[in-house]
């Protein structure tokens, strides 16, 4: 069974590299600076840290519901058999394709997993000033995951639990499955 998971890890890595090669690239510094400008504007508009965090997550959600179609179109991955498969696909293919970085899946249980990023292009050059010590600077990523997974019938909560901007060694997002959604089919006869 170990050989199987090792092989599929190889396969996923290759799928990630292939997908990354297919997509258009942009300068990572431009990307970081643009994201920084977005965060600054949201802070200015919402003033408080909690409201800013909520808004960044919401913006991420709006991105995620659209992003997942692009992902499914460009990434050659088969249907996931389990929530853990989903975790690996997100980490090895999704993050690679859209952010150009590899993420690790750690701390998995049946309905939960943690994505660990050693490298976060969103937060390049950023140092949080004291009054924003509780800001979830990369909270948009949580929203993206939530939105994307909702489109494939999974309702999840995503939380930024560790962040290098907070002084931690790595950045981590915890994803918890709340419920599987059933697509509603409306019968024309009714």
């Amino acid at each position: 069974q170990k050989a199987e998971t090792e092989m599929s890890a190889v396969r996923l890595n290759r799928a990630g590299d292939t997908a990354f090669a297919k997509v258009e690239k942009v300068s990572s510094e431009l990307f970081s600076l643009t994201y920084g400008a977005v965060v600054m504007q949201v802070i200015k508009d919402y003033e408080e840290v909690d409201a800013t965090n909520a808004q960044l997550e919401k913006m991420g959600y709006n991105i995620g519901v659209r992003l997942v179609d692009e992902f499914l179109a460009k990434a050659q991955v088969s249907a996931c058999q389990s929530f853990q498969d989903t975790a690996e696909v997100i980490a090895k293919v999704g993050f690679k394709m859209f952010l150009g970085v590899n993420a690790e899946v750690v701390k998995t249980t049946g309905d939960e997993f943690t994505l660990q990023l050693s490298d976060n292009p969103l937060a390049e050059f950023v140092e949080l000033p004291e009054q924003y010590a509780k800001l979830e600077y990369s909270g948009m990523l949580c929203g993206v995951l939530r939105g994307a997974l909702e489109m494939v019938q999974m309702r999840v909560t995503c939380t930024l639990v560790r962040d290098v901007l907070w002084g931690d060694d790595v950045t981590e997002i915890r994803v918890v499955l709340q419920e599987m959604l059933n697509e509603e089919y409306h019968d024309d006869e009714d």
Binding site: E29, S32, L33, G36, A37, V39, M40, E124, F125, V126, E127, L128, P129, Y132
Partner: protein, 139 residues
């Protein structure tokens, strides 16, 4: 009696576009006379006019020595955005100073890239600790 590799006193100031200081640090290797702090700031401020003139005469950001006052030299390094890195020093140390300016400039550019940093605002954050390390390294 010449002192080779003399450890002198240095005062480093970053001056913003409106001629106000946005960062300041001192590297003292000898006993300091009590009255020098305000005098140093005045000397640096007086040198700004020389910097404004000299900056147009060269392509280089490093302007070397722009002014002298008694025992003190003032060296300057002006960024593309006209932020002036000013160094007041009482010993010659061309290589050390040039390297110091270049390294501080790199750190400064990182500060500018931080979306939370407002241009011409005072610089807080880890910049201070890193500049002090550079001072200990080169001075």
């Amino acid at each position: 009696r010449l002192l080779f590799m003399a450890s002198g006193n240095y005062m480093f100031v970053i001056v913003g576009e409106d001629d106000t200081p946005i960062y300041e640090v001192e590297f003292l290797n000898t006993q300091r006379r009590e009255d020098t702090s305000h005098l140093n700031q005045f000397i640096i401020h007086a040198a700004l006019d020389m910097v404004d003139e000299l900056v147009w005469g060269t392509h280089s950001m490093y302007l070397k020595c722009v002014d002298k006052f008694n025992d003190f030299n003032i060296s300057a390094f002006v960024t593309a955005g006209h932020i002036k890195l000013m160094l007041l020093h009482d010993v010659r140390n061309d290589d050390g100073i040039r390297n110091f300016f270049n390294d501080v400039y790199e750190l400064f550019v990182r500060v500018l890239m931080n979306p939370f940093y407002r241009p011409n605002a005072p610089i807080t954050s880890t910049f201070d600790a890193r500049v002090k390390l550079l001072g200990r390294k080169y001075f």
